[in-house]
Amino acid sequence: MATKVFMEALSPTMEEGRLVKWLKNEGDAVKSGEALAEVETDKAIMELVARGDGILRKRLINEGDTAPVGTLAGVIAAADENIDALVAGAGAPAAGAQAPAQVVAKTQESAGASSVPRGPDESQGEASTPPQEKVADVPPPARGLAPAAPTGAAPAAPGDVRSSPLARRLASERGLDLASVQGSGPNGRIIKRDIEAAAAAGAVARPAAAAAPSGPVIPREGDFHDEPLSQIRKTIAKRLGESIGPIPTFYLTAEYDLTRVMEMRKAMAELGDQFKVSVNDVLLKATAVALSQHPEVNAHWLGDKIRYHNRVHLGMAVATDEGLIVPVIWDADRKRMSDISREAKELAKRARERKLRPEEFTGSTFSVSNLGMFGIDQFTAIINPPEAAILAIGTSEEKLVVVNGEPVVRNRVRVTMSCDHRIIDGAVGAKFLQTLRRLIENPLMLVY
């Protein structure tokens, strides 16, 4: 049976080789393992070695010529065997890397000292892809390691926390605080299995909240989770973006009854001045609680993915002499109304005095704008990117409304939510406003 001799990848990076010298003539008998030719790679001069016994019937690459890896270089066959079909296929690199399996190479020490078999060749044939292909089929962005902390600058974990490099990478990707993980390696060193155990146990990065979170059970692993865009979300984003600008916005307006909010405020005020809260405070608290139940609205648009936040950091637009600024009430869903009230006042005051620290006006997951004090009935606010929506609150005023067929006077407020359609569809926004209605029209639900 004939054996094809191919130009082989004699170094992991070799793409072509120059045939320096044939060591066998056409018609010479060759044995498996014998050197056939010298080939210059990008690194050294190596030998192509026959893998089959027979006569070197044909040499298909001229001395001095360069040929890509996989090119048929010659044919070994029995003296009387017809090799025309094999020779006819010469000139093009063989498909895949079937080629190297037929050929074995060995280095030739350039001093000509010894010829020692070289490593990879048979195994390349075995692996059926030469090494350079093995790495080349990976798209460039996937190369190198995950973008965890660069090793060189791997931060010494805070305090006395000892951890393995792999554990640090895993923790950084999962948002785990190493200080909260119990290590099981030598002297308490944190190793991979500890991170996996901690992740499985639902350990979270932030310290446990002092107050128990209100509202229904919501996944709390990490501060957020990213979800790659589905095809439908991609299409919605593209099509609607083309239609209306970078943020395809739509608006939902609802009017809420404030009767019970007013009753509650009155009852609280009667207990003493320290228990006074504004309508705005109640609306902020209600919005935060509603958001905690609707992470699909408490989200950021990140271009290639949507980040759903598990924590609610509520931005509140404040008008100052210089212009609009949006200070943030952190974890507003888990703060008491008194805290929200005090914090909102304090933040607004310091915003106007231009005394906000940077961390006090960054990091919001959702924003609220209130122009009620200016007597605006209703308005549309502009989304604060990358947030998914913003809630515009109008003035609260007495109105004549029909209740059970009777005209009655009620305190009402109009809210309008501007929604980024790339993240929120109409029904999703509407459901959020529904939840908000239940909370505002039944403020006792805020303590449920």
């Binding site: 992991p12 020490e109 990879p120 190198g144 390691l145 990478r169």
Partner: protein, 467 residues
């Protein structure tokens, strides 16, 4: 009748290391051993085999000496001399263990032990007497394993024409021709030795590759080197029609679609070892075995009987001295009431000392594929390594398989000169969960073979320098 804290049954690497550690922790320790301290490793395995391999290495190296400008006179090969030296090294090591026993006040009870209770053993001594001994804290079974023949295909061990590695280690002369059945570490090492001493060697392996536990790339590399040294390597082979004669053995071997008759002076059976579980009273004590006949243990090295422990070959694969040694340390610390780091069996290295050497830790590429892991391979050939060129030993490569995402070392494989020494950098890295970036970050001295490890790490990151 004497009373100890711990009695080890078997003084091989598992038992003697466990005994020393236990003594260091303040326990009163005895070891029952019928042959010599050090067990198979020191007397019938690792140590004497490596002494012979060194002889083989010199013999092979001398063939190339003229290229280095050193032309020796007539080179005579005498296996008998090499064998005697190997026995001397073995004895020396065994005496070394005896010395360590004295130093640590460990009692060596010469004889064969049998459990009479979970805290007592009876020992039959060489002169036929029977003694009873108590172990207040624990008995540890470390009886090891032995070579098993292949009677099912007609290769019953007769110590003359059908031999085990034990017999091979005390041959006076290298046979003219030898068939080695089983191409694991033992088979390949003896092939190397006998080939160097002039035997015509035929290797027969039932699996598709020699060194079947290693990465296929490594197996292929060794196979090629062996073939180059004119050894016959038959894989995916089937033996039939065995005829054991007085001075030779003949058989039919079917491999690669061909059938051939092979006749040799000697057949070395290097396939498989069996755990020594017989006649130690396991059944009477209710000790459970695994499906494969090893003693079943938990991570504290405890058997199904509380207070009764088992370590080393008898407690399951991999049957390697260094695995047994570590189990000895763990069991000693458990018995002494400490809290040892339990044994991570995925980090036990493999080492084969034929030429080129093969060493590995972790998963092979095939295992990564089977587990559907997302991995990348980095590889560097010694043919491009300066130090390897200076010594004229450019066979082989370093292959590192890393996780695609985090860069952890899933597996590392080295074939080539000094591979069994080189692998330890990667064992330290893997055991401590370094990634390939930490390996590269360490500055590797130039020129060294170890540079190939740094380059293979870089290659896995597509950043190789000398590419």
């Amino acid at each position: 009748m004497a009373s100890f804290d711990v009695i080890f049954i078997g003084g091989g690497p598992a038992g003697y290391v466990g005994a020393i550690r236990a003594a260091q922790l303040g326990l009163n320790v005895a070891v029952v051993e019928r042959e010599g301290l050090g067990g198979t490793c020191v007397i019938w395995g690792c140590i004497p085999a490596k002494a012979l391999l060194e002889a083989a290495y010199i013999a092979e190296k001398l063939k190339k000496a003229p290229e280095f400008g050193v032309t020796p006179g007539e080179v005579k090969l005498d296996f008998g001399v090499a064998m005697k030296r190997s026995r001397a090294v073995s004895t020396q090591n065994s005496k070394g263990v005896e010395f360590l026993f004295k130093k640590n006040k460990i009692t060596w009870i010469k004889g064969t032990a049998k459990l009479t209770g979970k805290n007592s053993v009876s020992v039959k001594t060489a002169d036929g007497k029977e003694e009873k001994h108590d172990a207040k804290k624990a008995v540890v079974i470390s009886t090891g394993s032995r070579v098993k023949g292949l009677p099912q295909i007609g290769l019953e061990i007769n110590k003359k024409t059908v031999i085990t590695s034990d017999d091979a280690l005390i041959l006076e002369k290298a046979p003219k021709s030898i068939v080695i059945v089983g191409c694991g570490a033992v088979g390949c090492e003896f092939a190397d030795v006998f080939s160097a001493f002039g035997s015509q060697v035929t290797l027969v392996e039932v699996m598709p590759n020699i060194l079947p536990l290693e990465d296929v790339d490594c197996s292929k590399e060794v196979e090629r080197a062996f073939k180059k040294r004119k050894m016959d390597v038959l894989t995916s082979a089937k033996i039939s029609n065995v005829k054991v004669g007085k001075d030779s053995v003949s058989m039919t071997i079917e491999a690669g679609g061909e059938k051939k008759e092979v006749k040799a002076d000697v057949v070395l059976v290097a396939a498989g070892r069996a755990p020594n579980i017989e006649d130690i009273g396991l059944k009477e004590q209710g000790v459970q075995l695994t499906d494969r006949g090893f003693i079943k243990i938990n991570e504290r090295m405890e058997t199904s009987v509380k207070g009764l422990y088992a370590i080393g070959d008898v407690a399951g694969p991999p049957m390697l001295a260094h695995k047994g040694e570590r189990e000895g340390v763990v069991v000693a610390e458990v018995i002494a009431g400490q809290h040892p780091h339990f044994f991570d069996y995925t980090n036990v290295p493999g080492a084969t000392y034929c030429h080129p050497e093969v060493a590995s830790v972790g998963l092979t590429e095939q295992q990564c594929k089977d587990k559907k892991l997302d991995y990348k391979v980095g590889r560097f050939n010694f043919s491009a390594n300066g130090r390897a060129r200076t010594s004229g030993e450019t066979e082989g490569f370093v292959k590192i398989i890393r996780g695609a995402k985090y860069g952890e070392i899933l597996g590392a494989h080295i074939v080539g000169s000094h591979a069994t020494e080189l692998i330890h950098e990667l064992i330290v890295a893997r055991t401590n969960e370094y990634t390939v970036e930490e390996v590269d970050l360490a500055i590797h001295a130039h020129p060294t073979l170890s540079e190939a490890i740094a380059e293979a790490s870089l290659d896995s990151l597509d950043k190789m320098i000398h590419a």
